[in-house]
C-alpha cells in the first residue's frame, strides 16, 4: 500500500490525539470525511460511479456481458472484479500495483460471496446456457487512506446505476437459439442493491480505534479490521490487516460498534442515495446533462456515524 513516512514525533502526536478523540483534522474517532458520490460518469459502461472520500478517489465501471453460467450454479449470473492501481504513484506501477490490486479484488470477492448480496438469479437468461456476467472494474485514481471503504461505496453506487438490457431468447425450428435485444434503450433491468454490503475499516491506533483513517493515521496503526456489513446489520465477511495483533475483546468491541452504527446510519444513507437516484431516474437525460455541463454531485456528509 502506498504509505507516507512519518517522523517519530509526528506519529506520537497522532497517537496522543486519537487517545483524546481529536484527530489531526478535527474529527472524532468515529467521524468520516466528506464523501462525494457521482454516478453515470463513464458513458460506455453499463453502470459507473466515482467516489471521493477526502483525498481518496475511486472510479468504478461495470460492464454487463453475456456468458455461460458457472457449472456449480447453473441458474445464476456472477460478478468478476478487477482492480487497477497503476495510476496512483510510480511505486504502484507494474508489479507493485498488482499485489495491491489482487488483494483488493480478493477482498471484494469475499464480501460479495454472501448469497443474498446481489440477486444473481435475476442475471440468468437461460439456465446452463446464458447468463449475464458483470465485470466490475475498479480504478484507484488517488490513494488518500481508507481505500476499502471508498471502493465498497463506489461498487454499491455503480451496481445501482447499472442498466442491463432486457433480452429474449428465441428458438428456431432447427433448435438454434437467437438472442434478441430490445430496441428501447431505456428498457432494462436494474439491480436491487439493498443487501449489498459496505466495508468499514477500523484501524487500531494506540488503545483506540478510528474509522476512515488518512494515510498518516494508517502509518501509525499496527492493525486494522475490515468488516463488510449490510444495512440490516448482517456481517458478510471480516478480515484483519496489518502486522500488529488485536485483542479478542477489542475485536468484539469493534464488531459491536460497527453493527450498531451501520443499522442506524445505513438506513439513512441508503434512503438518501436511493431517493436521489430515483428522482434522477424519472428524467433519464438528467445524468448525461449533469455529467457534461455542470457536474452534478451528490454529497453525503456523514456527521457522526456512517453505514
Amino acid at each position: 500500500m502506498a504509505s507516507v513516512v512519518l517522523s517519530e514525533a509526528e506519529k506520537l502526536y497522532i497517537v496522543h490525539g486519537v487517545q483524546e478523540d481529536l484527530r489531526v483534522d478535527g474529527r472524532g474517532c468515529e467521524d468520516y470525511r466528506c464523501a462525494e458520490v457521482e454516478t453515470d460518469v463513464v458513458s460506455n459502461t453499463s453502470g459507473s460511479a466515482r467516489v471521493k472520500l477526502g483525498e481518496t478517489d475511486i472510479l468504478v465501471g461495470i460492464k454487463a456481458e453475456m456468458g455461460t453460467p458457472k457449472l456449480e450454479k447453473p441458474d445464476e449470473g456472477y460478478l468478476e472484479f478487477f482492480v487497477d492501481c497503476s495510476s496512483n504513484s510510480p511505486e504502484l506501477e507494474g508489479r507493485g500495483g498488482e499485489e495491491l490490486g489482487t488483494d483488493i479484488a480478493n477482498t471484494l470477492y469475499r464480501v460479495f460471496s454472501c448469497e443474498n448480496s446481489v440477486d444473481l438469479k435475476s442475471l440468468c437468461i437461460n439456465a446452463k446456457e446464458h447468463c449475464w456476467v458483470l465485470y466490475v472494474d475498479v480504478l484507484l485514481l488517488e490513494c488518500g487512506g481508507n481505500i476499502f471503504d471508498a471502493i465498497s461505496i463506489a461498487v454499491k453506487a455503480a451496481l445501482f446505476n447499472t442498466r442491463i438490457p432486457k433480452v429474449r431468447v428465441l428458438e428456431d425450428e432447427e433448435g438454434t437459439k437467437e438472442i434478441e435485444l430490445s430496441d428501447d434503450p431505456y428498457d432494462c433491468i436494474r439491480l436491487n442493491v439493498d443487501e449489498v454490503p459496505c466495508i468499514i475499516t477500523l484501524s487500531k491506533i494506540g488503545y483506540r480505534h478510528v474509522v476512515d483513517a488518512t494515510l498518516q493515521e494508517e502509518a501509525c496503526s499496527l492493525a486494522s479490521l475490515l468488516i463488510s456489513v449490510t444495512s440490516k446489520g448482517a456481517i458478510t465477511s471480516m478480515k484483519k490487516v496489518g502486522k500488529g495483533s488485536l485483542d479478542p475483546e477489542s475485536i468484539f468491541e469493534m464488531m459491536e460498534f460497527m453493527i450498531q452504527s451501520t443499522r442506524e446510519a445505513s438506513r439513512n444513507k441508503m434512503a438518501a442515495v436511493l431517493g436521489q437516484y430515483q428522482s434522477s431516474a424519472q428524467f433519464p437525460l438528467t445524468s448525461t446533462w449533469d455529467r457534461t455541463e455542470s457536474r452534478q454531485v451528490t454529497s453525503h456528509r456523514p456527521s457522526e456515524d456512517f453505514g
Binding site: A9, L12, R27, D31, A272, Q296, T298, R301
Partner: protein, 294 residues
Amino acid sequence: MAAVTRGLPAVREPLDSGARRGGEKHLVAPGDTITTDTGYMRGHGTYVEDDKLIASVAGVVERVNKLVCVRALKARYNGEIGDIVVGRITEVQQKRWKVETNSRLDSVLLLSSINLPGGELRRKSAEDELAMRDYLQEGDLISAEVQSIFSDGAVSLHTRSLKYGKLGQGVLVQVSPSLVKRQKTHFHDLPCGASVILGNNGFIWIYPTPEQKDDEAGGYTSNLEPVPLSDREVISRLRNCIVALVTHKMMLFDTSILYCYEASLPHQIKDILKPEVTEEIVLEARQRLLDLEG
C-alpha cells in the same frame, strides 16, 4: 448517534477572484501566444515559433525590460539562496543526508552544515560520520535554510542556527510552493496559541508554541510529552484553515491564516472542510484582507 447529513447536488461555481489590485495579471495556457513583437528575449516557460512568442507552461507572464518569461502556477519548488524550507530526510549517505523538499531533485544537507546538539562548533570527525543516524534519521522533519544551489539545480541546505534543526511534534501540511508568500520571516508565533513555519517549498509546519525559547539545545531534543487538548484544537483548526485557503488558491502568509482562523471560530473544527463553510470563511478572510489594504 446523529443521522447522516446529506447534501443535495449543487453546481459549484468557482469563487469570484475578487478585485485585482494593480494591473491585470496576464494569464496564459500552454500554446497561447504572448506577443508577436520580435524585440523581446525569451525567458523560462516560452519558446519561439513562426516569429511568435508562445508560452509552454500555464502561468503568469512576467516581463522585465526586454525579457519575457512565464512563471508556472503549479510547479515544483525552485530553490533560491536564503529560502527557509521544511524537509523530510529520505536517505542517510556517507557525509550527508538527502532531504525531500518537493523539488525536482532531492536536496542535500551536508554533515558540515549542521549544528551539533548543544550548539557546539567543531570540525566533524569520522565518529560523527558514523553517528549520523543519531542526529537525523529517515523520516525526520527539519527546518533549514538554502545555502547554495548545485549546477544541476539541487539545493544544498544548512541548519547552522539555533532556530533551525529537527522538528518535534506537530502537523505538516503540503501545499503548492507558489502559494507561499515571500516575507521577511517565515517563523510565526500566532496569537491564537500555536506557531507555524511557512516553508518556501510549500511544506507548512504547525506546532505548539514552545514555552522556553532560549534553551533550544540546537533543536535535537524533541519534547515527547503529550500536547494539551487546547493546543491540539488550535493546531487542528489552523490546519483546516490552511487547507481551506489552499483550495481557493489564496496566498498563504501570517495575516491571511490568522484572518481565516478568526473567521472559522464560530464553526466546529471538522466542519471547516465542508465546501459551504470553506467558501464562507475564505470570503470573509479575503474581505478583511482587502479592507486592510485600503
